[in-house]
């Protein structure tokens, strides 16, 4: 039932995007390249958001995701360049967890304010990796004191039959690719996007995305998950039933750091080919925003991360598409105005309609958006989505409240 609803939304979305593509000629909106870039850019955000999920479900706010990702990216780049990409990813998980351990000790054992500790970790992580980079820098063939040497890439593959790829020497046909090339309205758009999501995908991406249902299973279908969530909803009640709340919170935060570290390692090893300073660039925060947007649920955070990944992919690939996307915003605003009008809120309907008019005017008054403004797209999307969605969200009841066994604060 829920899957049907999701499918309907996805179909509607592709239909609107395809229409805008036809109207504006911005072919990159629904191209295979955009879809695969969006997937690639979504994965670190998904991983960060999954990290946030475990931590916040256990009742610990984790602003420190950013710092843990930085640690993971650094370890992924430096250890990956010396011992191969898989060792790099493993090291990324370990380094992310080390950052998380500091967060857990500060917040769970010592009861420090969660946001304060998280921000401290972000500041420290950024400084620590800068220090370690200069310490390790050897000159010679190394690219620079703020970059790691290159990491060997992890191979890519496609879904058999549908989107090409190589399987044991057998070259699979590329059905979706040939449909996409037919240039039929909507059907080809759909095929192109699907092919982008399933063709030439890194194995790490597949593993990372499969963590989303796994996280759902662990948190909502196992007794460990129930205990972990109870630590975030009602720690004192959980304690009275014999749950070791400290252990649950430690587990949540450590898993969180592992995911965030893996997200950082993904940035260095899969999305790029070495570690560079400022590579994480706020993705930990965006992951947190995706989690909040997704109402602290695995499916929701996947949708949120996908949205940010899509916005990011468009701004990286083609600024024309962002310009065309203004029409998409117009469509959404008109839709909102219609809904508001139906529910009898004339004033908000008028405001939405006026905003739609302004956006439309802006669309026609500029031919293309300047590069510096285009880079702002994912952040604007985050703010807009939070502004629209925030009031319907429910965070875990005891999230961010320091817990002390026995109730003495």
């Amino acid at each position: 039932m829920k899957a049907m609803k999701m499918l309907r939304y996805a179909t509607m979305l592709v239909f609107v995007l395809a229409s805008i593509r036809v109207i504006t000629g911005a072919t990159d909106l629904t191209s295979t390249g955009t879809a695969s870039a969006a997937l690639l850019l979504s994965v670190p955000i998904v991983l960060a958001a999954l990290g946030g999920l475990f931590s916040e479900r256990a009742g610990v706010v984790n602003i420190g995701l950013e710092g843990m990702m930085i640690m993971g990216a650094w370890a992924g780049g430096y250890i990956g360049s010396q011992h191969g990409p898989w060792a790099g990813l493993f090291a990324a998980v370990i380094f992310g967890s080390i950052g998380a351990l500091v967060h857990a000790i500060a917040t769970v054992s010592f009861g420090v304010d969660h946001v304060v500790s998280g921000v401290a970790i972000n500041i420290i992580a950024a400084g620590l990796v800068r220090y370690l980079s200069t310490l390790l820098y050897k000159g010679g063939s190394w690219p620079g004191p703020s970059q790691s040497p290159g990491v060997e890439s992890i191979s890519l593959n496609g879904l058999p039959v549908l989107s090409g790829g190589q399987y044991f020497g057998w070259k699979s046909p590329d059905v979706l690719g040939s449909i996409a090339n037919l240039k039929w309205f909507f059907i080809s758009d759909f095929a192109a996007i699907l092919r982008g999501l399933t063709g030439s995908v890194s194995y790490v991406t597949v593993v990372a995305i499969s963590f989303v249902p796994l996280a759902y299973f662990i948190l909502w279908r196992t007794s460990f998950g129930l205990r972990l969530r109870s630590a975030g909803e009602a720690p004192y009640a959980a304690e009275s039933l014999g749950v070791n709340v400290y252990a649950m919170k430690y587990a949540g935060v450590l898993i969180s750091g592992g995911f965030a570290g893996l997200g950082g390692g993904f940035l260095a090893i899969v999305a790029a080919s070495n570690y560079q300073e400022n590579q994480v660039a706020g993705r930990g925060y965006i992951g947190l925003a995706a989690l909040i947007f997704g109402n602290y649920r695995p499916g929701g955070l996947l949708a949120g991360a996908g949205l940010f990944g899509f916005a990011d992919a468009l701004q990286l690939r083609d600024s024309d598409s962002i310009h065309a996307l203004l029409l998409f915003i117009v469509a959404i605003l008109v839709f909102v105005a219609y809904r508001k009008f139906k529910s009898g809120k004339q004033v908000s309907a008028l405001i939405s309609l006026a905003s739609a008019g302004f956006t439309l005017w802006f669309y026609f008054s500029v031919d293309e958006l300047p590069g510096q403004l285009v880079t702002m797209t994912p952040y604007i999307a985050t703010i807009l989505v939070m502004a629209l969605a925030s009031q319907r969200l429910r965070m875990p009841a005891a999230d961010g409240i320091p817990y002390r066994r026995g109730g003495l604060r």
Partner: protein, 372 residues
């Protein structure tokens, strides 16, 4: 009656007050020493080199110049901390404040003091407006200000780059540096060399102490006075300490939230100015980044009190400036980031431990009083 409930100073209270900073200092010295040992150098040599270089007159002036924007920005953050909020967006607010004050300030000429005041107002207006977005989203749409101000930081970065390159910058032939038109002399803040010379300080090659130093000091006093001695400050702290109790006793907590964020943004707008008005006289691509983030650490370390933040701003400035001398003895100057970070984390933890210890002591003494 117990000593812990009175304002009287007793050995145990003094001990508790000193314990946290002392423990934090020892812990961070250990961590920093480990960092130095990791570069195969002697920590004692490193610390003495830093101390020697850092206490030279020229370095001390630089320390103050580094600390001044940190201090102003830390006050901006402390305003929100006191109200139970957290403005991480200082970085973006100060960038826009500096950009617009340079652009608008260079458009006209006013008598000296008035012109500087006008530039201040422009910086505060734009810093405040940028923070008002987060404040509106928080009050009207329930968006967490931590997330929204982080996003606004990134937006401010993009917006200022766009405005500078496309609209505000002078086009200079043969130069890659983009900068706004130079501020007229009436908008520049002179350094404090004339005053320092009368005190017997000699001229230094690096230039003098920014005149904005006085502004920072004055702002510190105003912050202390408003927060601790006015009704507004009381309501601010009340809504931070216990929002429900504040609302029940008639404090309009939404208004306080909005005001705290906007005031914070306005102060943040000022924190980009010391360098701009005192040295560069224009906004350019090399505008110093990261003030807003270091200031978070300064505010946390200084416990959001005017005096504490002054101390921690100077400490951070000192570490930053004096660590440059480490290069002379082949240690990465970036070591200072480790020092700052370990001081921050250990002090945050130490203060929390001492707070809990004090609570336990208080409840024990209370139990004794009740039993007696």
């Amino acid at each position: 009656m117990s000593n812990l409930f009175t304002r009287k100073l007793t050995p145990s209270k003094v001990g508790l007050a000193v314990a946290a900073p002392l423990a934090a200092a020892i812990f961070s010295i250990i961590i920093s020493s480990l960092a130095v040992i990791a570069s195969k150098k002697s920590p004692i040599e490193a610390f003495t080199t830093m101390l020697q270089f850092g206490t030279e007159t020229g370095s001390l002036m630089e320390v103050i110049n580094t600390a001044t924007p940190y201090y102003i920005a830390a006050i901006a953050i402390a305003v929100t901390f006191r109200a139970g909020l957290f403005n991480i967006g200082v970085e973006g607010q100060l960038r826009l404040g500096a950009l617009f004050s340079c652009y608008i300030g260079a458009m006209f000429v006013l008598p000296p003091v008035l012109h500087v005041a006008a530039v201040f107002i422009v910086a505060m207006t734009f810093g405040g407006l940028w923070a008002a977005i987060a404040a509106y989203l928080k009050v009207k749409r329930g968006v967490n200000e931590v997330i929204s101000t982080i996003m606004l930081n990134s937006l401010a970065g993009g917006l200022s780059a766009y405005l500078l390159s496309k609209h505000f910058a002078l086009v200079e032939v043969g130069s890659n540096n983009l900068q706004t038109k130079e501020l007229p002399a009436s908008a520049q803040v002179p350094d404090l060399m004339p005053i320092l010379r009368t005190l017997g300080v000699e001229d230094q090659p690096g230039g003098g102490v920014y005149g904005m130093f006085f502004v920072a000091v004055a702002l510190g006093f105003v912050f202390w006075f408003v927060v601790n001695r006015t009704r507004f400050g009381f309501e601010l702290r009340a809504s931070g300490l216990n929002p429900i109790a504040a609302r029940v006793s008639g404090v309009n907590s939404k208004r306080m939230t909005f005001m705290a964020l906007v005031i914070s943004g306005a102060i943040a707008g000022l924190s980009g100015l010391p360098e701009v008005l005192g040295q560069t006289h224009s906004y350019n691509l090399g505008f110093r980044a990261g003030i807003g983030f270091s200031a978070i650490a300064v505010a946390l370390l200084g416990r959001n009190s005017a005096g504490g933040m002054a101390f921690s701003a100077l400490l951070f400035g000192f570490l930053e400036v004096s660590s440059r001398s480490l290069e002379l003895i082949d240690i990465a100057p970036e070591t200072y980031v480790i020092m700052q970070g370990s001081i921050l984390l250990s002090s945050v933890v130490a203060y929390e431990v001492v707070r809990r210890f004090r609570l336990t002591l208080q409840s024990n003494e209370l139990a004794k009083v009740v039993q007696a």
